[in-house]
Amino acid sequence: MESPEEQLETLRRLRERALQGGGPERIAQQHARGKLTARERLALLLDPGSFQEIGALATSPIADEDQRVPGDGTVTGFGKINGRRVAVYAQDFTVMGGSFSAVQANKICRMQDLAIESGIPIIGLNDSGGARIQEGVRSLAAYGEVFVRNVLASGVVPQISAILGPCAGGAVYSPALTDFIIMSESTGYMFLTGPDVIKAVSGRDLSVQELGGAAVHCTRSGVAHLSAPDDRAVIELIKRLLSYLPQNNSEDPPQIMPYDRADRVETALNTLVPADERQGYDAHTLINLIFDYDSFLEIQPLFAQNAVVGFARLDGYAVGVVANQPAIMAGALDIDASDKIARFVRICDAFNIPLITFVDTPGFLPGIEQEYGGVIRHGAKIIYAYSEATVPKISVVVRKAIGGAYVAMSSKQLRCDLNFAWPSAQIAVMGAEGAVRILRREELRTAADPARLMEEFVAEYRRRYFNPYHAADLGQIDEVIEPAETRPRLIRALEILRTKVQQNPPRKHGLYPS
């Protein structure tokens, strides 16, 4: 029988062993790769002294005695980020390559369950070589346990995943089921099948970064939402992203003390839209002039750049911003842009973040590739997301709002609360030239000078339909506003709508077009 002193000594020794992770040699190797250890990452992420570890002494019963490390390759627990309670897990690559085991899954699931019950965000720092092969089907079942909790937590509490090292095979689905993925550009990569399999199947020789690095997932696949150069920058980005999100789907996001004047009138906006409608402008300029200074955090900035989405603040309140980007593809909506907008709208709706939409799109991108790729069902996602959303919704038609894209981009019929338009707005069924060719076909065919007549008809069409006043007459636009006064108008509108409550019909779940 051990004395109390000996019992305490045993506990302290085990705790000390858990803190060492894979040992000094493995830690040095981790540092040499440019990565921090799991505990170093958590120390940067969480407020000092706030971390409360859960399952620090758990070991794998299947592993050999000499390979058993307290914690079993993952550090889980609760802590605070800027005073806000969060649940965290960090995979420890220094312990058996961070390989995923049943014990790891138990720890992560326990933490997920407590987070869902307590209504606090879950943050996962991924750095794992994959499933622990020695555990066989146990480690595969373990993935399933985590996945189902990812789904149960979806839309209830914010879930943020950081990819700071390898994330391969089945492991990729846990981050993919979370709300946001932030990748380290230097060390993070994720793929289903590694370069060796790709080479065997297709003969292409790719590096891990070429196959699944941040550059791939932030630009081409759209799997990742944000990236940063290294571990530290990723952790800073997590903190910033969290600042726009509430604790759970019942709460509001944090409001910060206003630091930018609510009545700021930006005369530069009056001249932002070029007189020549074929010329683009940068939607970022518009966003930065309207929202609180330096508050815009763009999500997926390098993916589907013809649409801009992100979080910003208006008078200290967090809002979601959706805008077409006229500087790229004239702001036309394609498959990727539709997916990007629809997902972002749903995230904002899930977490009670009001939506502000700036419309300047000539429509959905025409083309065989788009049609074959299913632009119809992808475009339908935008309509579904906006229609389903019950958060305050405000839209501003900046310039073009043509055809189906006008309807899709937060139109009055999709339960948008307030629709504003600038005097430069052009709201019509289709472009002037196309419309005239259909409406005046006979007259143009028989005219002596069709080109001159076409010009006349186009000018008349523009005068009659290419303005916001026709839509305002019909109640499709609530108010035509001066661009310079957009900020104060939006702030006042949000002040009214902040207490908006709207309910959808009860149902198990809708059938989202996918």
Binding site: G83, R85, G119, Q247, D252, Q255, I256, D294, S295
Partner: protein
């Protein structure tokens, strides 16, 4: 006619007395302000010499002071971006006030499991 003369006399005397008293008060106030004025010493009017400046800035070079100022403003901007408590006017998921998560959750807990008739 005598009444009008008397009235005018009284008006002149009355107004004269009031304005006379006001002028006396005005003079007294000026006198008090002159007597009560703090002495201006030459040392405060002078600009700080180099030794005093160094002492006031804790021996820091102007470049170092500028760097500190930039660091402080960047730190404040970082706190603001992260919605740190010092920058916050609303506390999400507060434990001090009735959390909506708790309120809504406990309301659901207390709903009767029996079917409504």
């Amino acid at each position: 006619m005598n009444d009008i003369g008397f009235g005018l006399t009284m008006t002149v005397v009355g107004m004269g007395s009031v304005f006379g008293v006001l002028m006396v008060v005005w003079g007294v106030l000026i006198l008090i302000s002159r007597i009560d004025r703090p002495e201006t010493s030459e040392s405060t009017a002078q600009t700080l010499d180099e030794t005093q400046l160094a002492a006031a800035t804790n021996q820091l070079a102007p470049e170092e002071i500028a760097a500190i100022a930039v660091a402080v403003s960047l730190y404040a901007a970082s706190l603001r971006r992260e919605a740190a408590p010092t920058m916050r006017s609303y506390w999400p998921g507060s434990l001090l006030f009735a959390s909506r998560w708790v309120a809504a959750g406990r309301t659901r807990q207390n709903q009767s499991w029996q079917r409504r008739r």
